[in-house]
Amino acid sequence: MKYRMAAALLSLAGFFVSLYLYLYKIGRIGTLACGTGGCETVQTSPFSRFLGLEVALYGVVGYLVLLVLSMDTLRRPAAAISSRLLLILSGAGLAFTIYLTYLELFVIKAICRWCVGSAVIITLIFIVALLDWRRRAAPPGSLSQ
């Protein structure tokens, strides 16, 4: 259960980070609190959009879905579907984040602290989802939280 609680809390934190970046991108927040200046470079680059939508919007929706899934795993501990989906979706989010981090480092050549924060969050969610999945898959008593 602790893994699932951690996944829920991390998803909520990730949701707010993405929401902050998205609101900046659509002009609802004047400036980004970003000491390096890299956030603006990343957020105003052509790569801040993906398939016609703001990248941050994928984060908002993705983290919200992760939050719902992790809450569902807490509400229905015996149901496997939500924890499986949690693992798959966080894995997809991690893969997308690796792609975005590659763009930051090697194409845009600027680092956005908030994006790094989101990358850490999605990595942690994937790790706890994986640990939860392993615990579920293991024979009773062989693994403990």
């Binding site: 909520l12 707010f16 609101l23 002009g27 927040i29 603006e40």
Partner: protein
């Protein structure tokens, strides 16, 4: 799972949720950081020694004045499609001196004065045209925003301005009078829309193609014959 543990979890989740919403709500509800007033009194100091922003040689035989609005799509189109040819073939060759004047259309373009003021603040640091080009080139990124001042600040950083100086300039709104004076000059000479060009004493409203401008320039001052 102990009920106490679940209770603690929901408490932490609730606190995180409320705190996150409070911070986001505060950021969204803040007033726009900068707005440049139109109903400003124009002082002599606003226009003393200032006729506009210039590109090109003082000794060019022809001066073209452009009255434009940063948020006007036709101006943006002219700036990005036609202006590069004008710069390369007429301004850099010494045939034309370009004068840019702000003509903000406040009723339909709510950010135009902030954009103009941002460029004016860049002028203080000798980077007017860098900021000018940047604002026009990235119009889709800021024109629909509720508060684009942060984006203009990002451009200021990107073009290499001293940002604290730029911030102080924007907060002072010191060029609001200059922008209004520029607008009044446009009205006085008969400008009613943007972009409008003043060439050889005549007004040419609407987006002009480079070829049209060149033809007019050729008729007013024939190009020097090429040396054999």
């Amino acid at each position: 799972m102990a009920a106490g543990e679940m209770k603690r979890f929901y408490t932490i989740l609730g606190v995180l949720g409320v705190a996150g919403l409070a911070v986001i709500g505060y950021l969204v509800m803040r007033r726009p950081t900068i707005s440049i007033p139109a109903n400003v009194q124009v002082l002599p100091a606003d226009t003393a020694g200032f006729r506009g922003y210039f590109l090109g040689s003082d000794s060019a035989p022809i001066e073209i004045t452009e009255y434009a609005d940063y948020q006007c799509p036709a101006c943006q189109d002219f700036e990005t499609v036609q202006m590069p040819s004008v710069e390369e073939r007429l301004i850099q060759t010494g045939r034309v001196r370009w004068r840019y004047r702000d003509f903000p259309l406040d009723q339909i373009h709510r950010h135009t004065r902030v954009a103009a003021h941002s460029a004016a603040c860049a002028d203080e640091q000798g980077k007017y045209w860098d900021q000018h080009h940047r604002i026009y080139s990235w119009t889709p990124d800021w024109t629909t925003k509720s508060d684009p001042s942060g984006i203009f600040r990002d451009y200021a950083k990107a073009v290499g301005l001293d940002v604290p100086k730029y911030d102080a300039c924007m907060e002072s709104k010191k060029y609001a009078g200059r922008i209004e004076a520029s607008s009044r000059e446009g009205v006085a000479v008969g400008v009613t829309s943007t972009p409008t060009f003043l060439i050889g004493g005549r007004l040419y409203p609407g987006r002009m193609a480079f070829d049209e401008i060149k033809k007019l320039v050729d008729s007013l001052s024939p190009a020097p014959a090429a040396k054999p």
